[in-house]
């Protein structure tokens, strides 16, 4: 179905317009960057409304990409920019927007370089949206690489990472993955021209080319996912980040790898790459266990959230390898809730950490004195571990069911890892809730009512997603 309204281009371009307005916004002397922040929030909200509108036009039953838009870009080589969506990608776009909105809630009081932060955030959002609406290999690749720049700038400038070397090694490492994908894309283009993402899984080559192309594609996507040893770069950056928006944006990067696998995975996986896939699964499971254990012993709450994110991303990766349509749909729904949960948790925990650093308040027992924060953290943590408060509960059931069926031993290790990260998060929650006389927090350290209302809204979305993942879609 082709789109007469270029809605997809609009949701990609709108943040870019937001960049322009943010750049030209005036800085108040007493609240520098406030106008830029407001522009950013407004742009996000406008985009969310557009996404909602697109949901209403979309046919949820159809498995193919819809609302196709095609723009001729280069004549030689012949490259078009092509956009298209389905329910899965649109859900992820919405989740990215909401996650960034949660991150913005955490940086609303930031006064240092706020304008720059808003500009780069909008740029990242535009690139991420473009990535998810890309419908052919070149469009996909362009946005796959393009999102690295604003990400790098956000992490480098605002991440407050102590070891600067980790930041640009992080960029180079992801850049290498993008280059590898570029070589594969060029090869595919050379053989078959500019193919759409729907056609790619069915392409056939000689065995040698199969190995090279799919191997390169797998490596490129794997580089984004924190599977051992690729986890090191993202973990060393994430563990050091103190800005919630920077953390959230970084933690969205593995999502691009998983999405890539879902779109590109050939059916069936040609030999010998199916062996490669099996090895990735094994390494993935080992990584889950390993990260879960480290998260369990690590006292840094950022690392705990990182371990949670890693374990779940690898779970989705393993689910993506199954190739089952129902599992993929469940991954989409689960990812939606997962992203909302981790971004909200990160924002709230960073609020506590910031209070700890700036006002010398011990974080142990912090939640005893701050009711709103306590409620929000409790709900989100319980939802995060898989209790029936969000779509994660049901959707992970189907994903795990499939994985257990394929290999029960690996499945049990997977479950063990999930239990470990669940215990890790619960441990952290209880550390914050256990009354500590040394904690000097009081009601003034709680989150403000508007922010609390926003998180209530997020919790509402999570709860409704448990009942029906597409509850907000009103059929026309």
């Amino acid at each position: 179905m082709n789109s007469p309204l270029a809605l997809l281009s609009l949701i990609v371009a709108l943040p870019l317009f937001g960049v322009f307005f943010a750049l030209t916004s005036k800085d108040d002397a007493d609240k520098p960057g406030r106008n830029a922040f407001n522009v950013c929030v407004f742009t996000l909200l406008a985009n969310i409304v557009l996404i909602w509108r697109i949901f209403m036009i979309l046919d949820e039953e159809s498995g193919s990409l819809q609302l196709i838009e095609r723009f001729r870009w280069l004549a030689n080589p012949e490259i078009n920019i092509m956009f298209g969506v389905d329910t899965f990608s649109l859900l992820l776009i919405l989740a990215v927007h909401l996650s960034v909105l949660a991150g913005l809630a955490g940086v609303r009081r930031n006064i240092v370089k706020q304008k720059s932060l808003m500009v780069f955030t909008l740029l990242f959002l535009s690139m991420a949206t473009g990535f998810f609406v890309a419908a052919d290999i070149f469009s996909f690749y362009i946005f796959f690489e393009a999102m690295l720049i604003p990400l790098f700038m956000i992490v480098g400038i605002f991440g407050e990472v102590k070891k600067q070397g980790t930041v640009y090694r992080f960029f180079l490492y992801n850049f290498l993955g993008a280059i590898i994908l570029f070589s594969a894309v060029m090869l595919i283009y050379h053989m078959h021209g500019s193919v759409t993402l729907e056609e790619i899984a069915g392409l056939k080559w000689t065995r040698r080319l199969d190995v090279y192309i799919w191997g390169a594609v797998f490596l490129a996507f794997l580089s984004r996912i924190p599977v051992w040893p690729f986890h090191f770069w993202i973990s060393s950056v994430c563990a050091g980040l103190r800005n919630p928006l920077a953390f959230i944006v970084t933690a969205l990067l593995p999502l691009t790898g998983i999405y890539g696998f879902i779109r590109f995975l050939p059916e069936p996986v040609p030999f010998p790459l199916n062996v490669f896939v099996d090895w990735i699964s094994i390494i993935g499971i080992v990584t889950m266990l390993f990260i879960a254990l480290i998260g369990f012993i690590n006292k840094d709450s950022q690392y705990k959230i990182f371990s949670y994110i890693t374990v779940y991303y690898i779970l989705y990766l393993l689910g993506a390898f199954s190739g089952d349509e129902m599992v993929l749909l469940n991954i989409g729904f689960s990812l939606f809730s997962f992203m909302l949960i981790f971004s909200s948790l990160e924002t709230l925990l960073t609020h506590i950490l910031r209070k700890e650093e700036q006002e010398d308040i011990r974080s142990s027992g912090f939640l005893c004195k701050t009711k709103r924060l306590s409620f929000a953290c409790s709900y989100l943590t319980i939802a995060a571990v898989g209790m029936p408060l969000s779509a994660i509960f049901i959707n992970n059931f189907f994903i795990l069911s499939k994985l257990l069926a394929s290999n029960v031993k690996m499945g049990m290790v997977l479950i063990f890892s999930l239990v470990m990260v669940g215990c890790t998060l619960l441990q952290e929650l209880f550390r914050l809730k256990t009354d500590n006389p040394a904690c000097r927090a009081d009601r003034n350290d709680d989150i403000s009512f508007p922010v609390f209302a926003f998180f209530i809204f997020i919790m509402f979305i999570l709860l409704m997603s448990f009942i029906n993942p597409l509850w907000f879609v009103i059929d026309e």
């Binding site: 069911s401 049990m412 029906n468």
Partner: protein, 554 residues
């Protein structure tokens, strides 16, 4: 009626939680009691009229995966709910009059919500509703516990049990691609990993019921008041274990290991509870062990009587009775918890003593009317409970008077608010189970009296002051040593060895050093000196000449 009951309970609870503010919470508490009573009456009426309603609501899912909310009544379900609702009414009444409870309205609301969650669980016809009901009970139980350390343990065990259930059902789902519990019968014929599924379900059940090895979270409830212990044990998470055990029985019987594991574990749990009851000095701990024993019995009972859930729920008032008896003693002795600081109270609070004996008699009578196949289990249970109870009661009522003067001075029998309803319960139990006609009643009661008088286990009292025994948390220590400490060590080793040494020092270090070497090497070659110019240009010219020579001679 079930659906109406369900929604009414939620509506009343939410109204009480969100709307009611201010001082008149006790009055609202009694109003809640009246509402419960009314609902129970309505349920009874519909049960007698055989009016079993059906309610199905398609609530979720997407594409070809739809889930339904079932709240349909059957005679068995209605019967179970009547018994539970009766117990709930009793608990609500107790909360409303119990002086030790400061948050009467909140706790009563929790009772109502627990019952609603139980309805959800009981009426479940698919996996989703089963898991949701069980999780709801876990979450509600979490909010009943005020102490953070107890909450922590509770939520960990609750989480573990939910994950075990989740995993077991996930394995089953892929083999039998249906979420309906009715389709589980096929599992014994076509199922895979039957033993694993059975073990996981047993793990879930044991965690929820607090069986041996998984009892820490329930033992920690000693920090709660008596009423909350009763609410927790009889309307919260442990109750969920019975329903799960019943509903998922077809999956359990598919494995050959279920019966031996169940037998051994429950026997061990019973033995452990008995020993603990004999050694413990705390009345609250004793109450908890009695509840754990009850659940061990219930599971064993359900093991031999698959359709016996309604019978088990019928035993709840009896189980409640024992808790109330201990609570009464605590109440009478000015809230003195420790058995070693009581003793010889029979002379001073005779009425309470007689009430206790009557309670024990009613308790014995309740358990004699069991199917033949479960008789042995019931008798063993009675024997164990009576042994433990007799030890405590003999030390409290008949032993040496160890209470201090203040306690002795303030000893008083319970007020009519307590004993009147209790007598009503005795009468009802007597009417429901005419135990006085049963010879075994006299045998058990006689044996109890004998044990009470002889007190063969009074020597266990010497460990009353021994902190190592009283404060012992052996299972917790075992978990720390066997599971948590190795995990922590493994985590540290992996972090240091793999992340730090292998990746950071070796891989990254090597790459960084290699590139630094190449860069510095080139820098040296390219200094602004004549030699570097000469070298570079000579290289270029050499290549040009070589190429020329090669092409020419080719």
């Amino acid at each position: 009626m079930i659906s109406q009951l369900f929604f009414s309970l939620i509506a009343i609870a939410l109204l009480a939680l969100l709307v009611v503010q201010g001082r008149r919470r006790r009055i609202w508490s009694f109003l809640l009691l009246a509402a419960c009573g009314f609902l129970m009456y309505e349920l009874l009426l519909s049960f007698r009229e055989d009016a079993f309603s059906s309610f199905v609501y398609q609530w979720g899912g997407f594409q070809n995966l739809q889930f339904s909310l079932h709240l349909s009544g059957t005679p068995e379900i209605d019967k179970i709910l009547l018994s539970l609702l009766g117990s709930a009414v009793g608990l609500v009444y107790l909360n409303s009059v119990y002086w030790g409870e400061n948050h009467k309205l909140t706790v009563n609301t929790a009772v109502l919500l627990n019952v609603a969650a139980f309805i959800l669980l009981l009426c479940s016809k698919d996996f989703v509703q089963l898991m949701v009901g069980s999780s709801c009970l876990a979450i509600l139980g979490f909010y009943l516990i005020p102490d953070m350390e107890s909450k922590r343990k509770f939520i960990f065990y609750g989480f573990l049990s939910e994950m075990a259930l989740f995993t077991a059902l996930a394995v089953v789902y892929e083999v039998i691609p249906s979420m309906n519990l009715q389709d589980m019968e096929q599992f014994s014929t076509i199922g895979r990993h039957k033993d694993l599924v059975a073990l996981l379900i047993l793990l879930c059940v044991f965690c929820q019921a607090g069986m041996l090895g998984f009892q820490n979270h329930i033992l920690d409830l000693q920090t709660l008041t008596f009423n909350r212990i009763m609410i927790f044990c009889l309307t919260s998470l442990p109750l969920s274990s019975l329903v799960i055990f019943t509903k998922l029985r077809p999956l359990l019987v598919a494995s050959q290991y279920t019966e031996p594991v169940l037998s051994i574990w429950l026997a061990a749990a019973a033995a452990w509870c008995l020993v603990a009851m004999l050694l413990t000095d705390s009345l609250k701990a004793a109450a908890i062990y009695l509840n754990l024993l009850f659940y061990a019995f219930s599971l064993a009972f359900l093991g031999v009587c698959p359709d016996g859930l309604d019978r088990v729920i019928n035993f709840f008032p009896a189980a409640l009775l024992l808790n109330i008896l201990l609570m009464m003693v605590n109440n009478a002795a000015s809230n003195e918890l420790y058995v070693s600081r009581l003793g010889g109270l029979a002379r001073h609070i005779r009425f309470t003593f007689v009430l206790s004996l009557a309670g024990v008699a009613a308790f014995i009578g309740s358990f004699l009317n069991v199917p033949a196949v479960a008789e042995k289990i019931a008798f063993i249970y009675l024997a164990v409970v009576l042994t433990g109870l007799s030890s405590i009661m003999s030390r409290v009522f008949l032993g040496k008077a160890n209470a201090d003067d203040k306690v002795m001075a303030l000893l008083k029998n319970p007020s009519p608010l307590y004993w009147l309803p209790l007598i009503g319960v005795f009468v009802w139990l007597g009417w429901e189970y005419p135990f006085w006609r049963n010879k075994m009643f006299y045998a058990f009661f006689g044996a109890f009296i004998l044990l009470l008088l002889i007190a063969p286990f009074r020597f266990c009292g010497r460990w009353s002051d021994d902190e190592d025994v009283q404060e012992a948390d052996w299972f917790n220590d075992l978990y720390q040593i066997v599971i948590l400490a190795p995990l922590r060590l493994l985590g540290r080793v992996l972090w240091v060895l793999v992340d730090f040494i292998v990746i950071e020092r070796s891989i990254i270090g090597t790459v960084a050093q290699t590139s630094d070497f190449l860069v510095s090497g080139l820098q040296k070659l390219q200094g602004s000196v004549r030699q570097s110019y000469l070298l570079m240009i000579a290289l270029g010219l050499a290549v040009l000449l070589l190429n020329m020579g090669y092409e020419y001679y080719e």
